[in-house]
């Protein structure tokens, strides 16, 4: 009897622990999507595909230099920032809510257009990756994949997940600090709050949006490298991660980095515990049931005011 209780306790502790670790990874996957929507009111349907682009970019960097996969972040982050800045400035700014208003169109057109454009972008990215690489699954090999940190006789956590969790928390703190304390960060917050007034206070909306889009894809760069290191991936895997990102945003709301982390952790724990008790196939289903429940009960997100 006592032994049964012990194992139940161990199962729950392991579930909470690995779910929490998974949550950090999910937060990094979702933060770019939340930033895009929070600042530009854009739902970027290509967000998942950009994550996969970053994973392939890391593969390409590793083809040039045989270093630890973590070093690829030094190349992936700036490249993804540049790509984010550029696509916002030359493409998405032309189909934004603000662009529609300038042309005297209904705001609904401004909300719809980026959906269609990013949906198209998603298809182009998938096909582009297929053309550049191939349909074979890729993975970024690393020394940590099978390592674990033992916390007790029957309690352990994957070293890779633990490292990801630390990186996730550090990145969320860095982004929040950037938004709170820098010139550009405050402009992004102001433009997210009220773009019309932000312009009246001298902020150039298109530039602010380009920086926000750059940061969004830079975080997607970190997430992409993490994806590549933790599982195999193929050109059309993007939408799977888009779904994860939507889930986290629904749970945590769009407001803050803390919300993303909490949303990620709740989703992570739910998935891991569902998997533990109802079998591996229940893992995804458990997560989606939770998301559906939240949508039904509190559609504005668990933490939104």
């Amino acid at each position: 009897m006592n032994e049964d209780l012990y194992w139940i306790g161990i199962d729950i502790a392991n579930g909470l622990l690995s779910g929490t670790m998974l949550g950090g990874y999910y937060a990094v996957i979702s933060i770019g999507l939340a930033l895009n929507f929070g600042v530009m009111r854009q739902v970027n349907l290509a967000h998942g595909d950009w994550l996969i682009v970053a994973a392939y970019l890391a593969v390409a960097f590793l083809g040039i230099a045989n270093v630890s996969p973590f070093w690829t972040l030094a190349g992936v982050i700036p490249v993804m920032y540049g790509v984010g800045w550029l696509i916002q400035r030359v493409l998405l700014a032309r189909v934004s809510v603000q662009a529609a208003e300038r042309r005297g169109m209904a705001p609904s057109i401004g909300l719809m257009s980026p959906l269609l454009v990013t949906f198209g972008m998603s298809i182009v990215i998938g096909q582009g990756l297929l053309a550049l690489f191939d349909a074979n699954a890729q993975a970024i090999r690393n020394d940590l994949s099978y390592a674990a940190v033992r916390l007790g006789e029957d309690l352990s956590v994957s070293t890779l997940r633990l490292v990801f969790f630390v990186i996730a928390v550090a990145m969320l703190i860095a982004v929040q600090t950037f938004l709170n304390t820098t010139h550009a960060g405050r402009a992004i917050r102001a433009a997210a709050d009220d773009p019309e007034v932000a312009a009246l206070m001298g902020m150039h909306p298109a530039r602010v949006h380009a920086v926000a889009s750059g940061i969004s894809l830079a975080t997607a760069g970190v997430a992409g490298v993490m994806i590549g290191m933790s599982r195999s991936f193929q050109p059309f895997d993007g939408p799977t991660f888009l779904l994860v990102a939507f889930g986290v945003v629904i749970l945590g709301g769009l407001g803050s980095m803390t919300g993303a982390l909490v949303g990620g952790v709740i989703l992570g724990i739910t998935q891991v515990l569902s998997g533990t008790y109802f079998g591996p196939s229940a893992q995804l289903v458990g997560g989606y049931i939770l998301i559906l429940l939240v949508l039904a009960v509190k559609p504005q997100g668990l933490f939104s005011k």
Partner: protein, 239 residues
């Protein structure tokens, strides 16, 4: 007479078949407080939108400090020295009072980080918001929000401030405090264009009045003269 700081010529704005502003022309000179009056729907707030750049005119021109700003977007006008407030205050609610003022000082006011800190400190003192510097602007009570609205516009270091109705819903004493504040802003070198419904305020606090009716310019002149005009009395009092 010296060149006008703001020169509006034949300004018009239509939304489809609806003509909200029609052929409006007037000047504002540096150092003046000019009131804008007119019944609801006269096009006062639309005029502010056209001047600040939130709205693009259908026809006409806006010159400011000798430059043609007719086609300039809002952020360029803000940097050129035009600031506006809203009747219903629109603070960046998730930012502190200090941060609200600081973004205005840094972006519209062209100040460096240190200069902006010092300037925002002065503006907070001038507007009596020092003790609220760290509060979230979205949580301020209405009276402080109205002060904050003026303070943020002032933090932008404007040459011309467009003030949209501060007196509505306030007691006489509170209105007098706002009049004193706006006059002290003028004394610091800022020209004021001010929409207000409270006629007493407009009579005592302004140098000239611009009267609008159904989007058209009804009269421009000394406050008493404008208010005594039969057409203005008819529009306002139905007399």
């Amino acid at each position: 007479m010296a060149t006008a700081l703001l020169s509006v010529r034949h300004l018009s704005k239509s939304f489809g078949a609806l003509h909200v502003t029609q052929d409006v022309s007037f000047d504002v000179h540096a150092g003046e407080i000019v009131g804008v009056i007119g019944p609801n729907g006269a096009g006062k707030t639309t005029l502010f939108g056209l001047l600040a750049g939130n709205l693009a005119p259908t026809a006409g021109t806006v010159h400011f400090a000798g430059h043609d700003l007719t086609a300039a977007p809002a952020h360029e006008r803000a940097r050129a020295g035009i600031a506006r407030t809203f009747q219903v205050p629109r603070p960046f609610g998730h930012m502190t009072v200090f941060e609200n003022l600081k973004v205005a000082a840094r972006f519209a006011g062209h100040l460096s980080d240190d200069e902006a800190d010092a300037w925002v400190g002065r503006v907070l003192a001038m507007t009596g918001l020092q003790s609220h510097a760290g509060s979230l602007a979205g949580r301020l009570p209405l009276l402080l929000r109205k002060r904050h609205e003026l303070a943020r516009a002032l933090a932008a270091k404007p040459r011309l401030m467009l003030v949209d109705e501060v007196a509505a819903g306030l007691t006489d004493q509170e209105v007098n405090q706002f009049i004193a504040l706006i006059q002290s802003i003028r004394k610091s070198g800022v020209t004021i264009l001010w929409i207000e419904h409270v006629m007493k305020t407009m009579l005592t606090a302004t140098d000239r009045l611009v009267a609008l009716h159904s989007g058209r310019l009804l009269a421009v002149g000394a406050p008493r003269d404008v208010i005594d005009l039969p057409e203005v009395r008819r529009v306002y009092l139905g007399a």
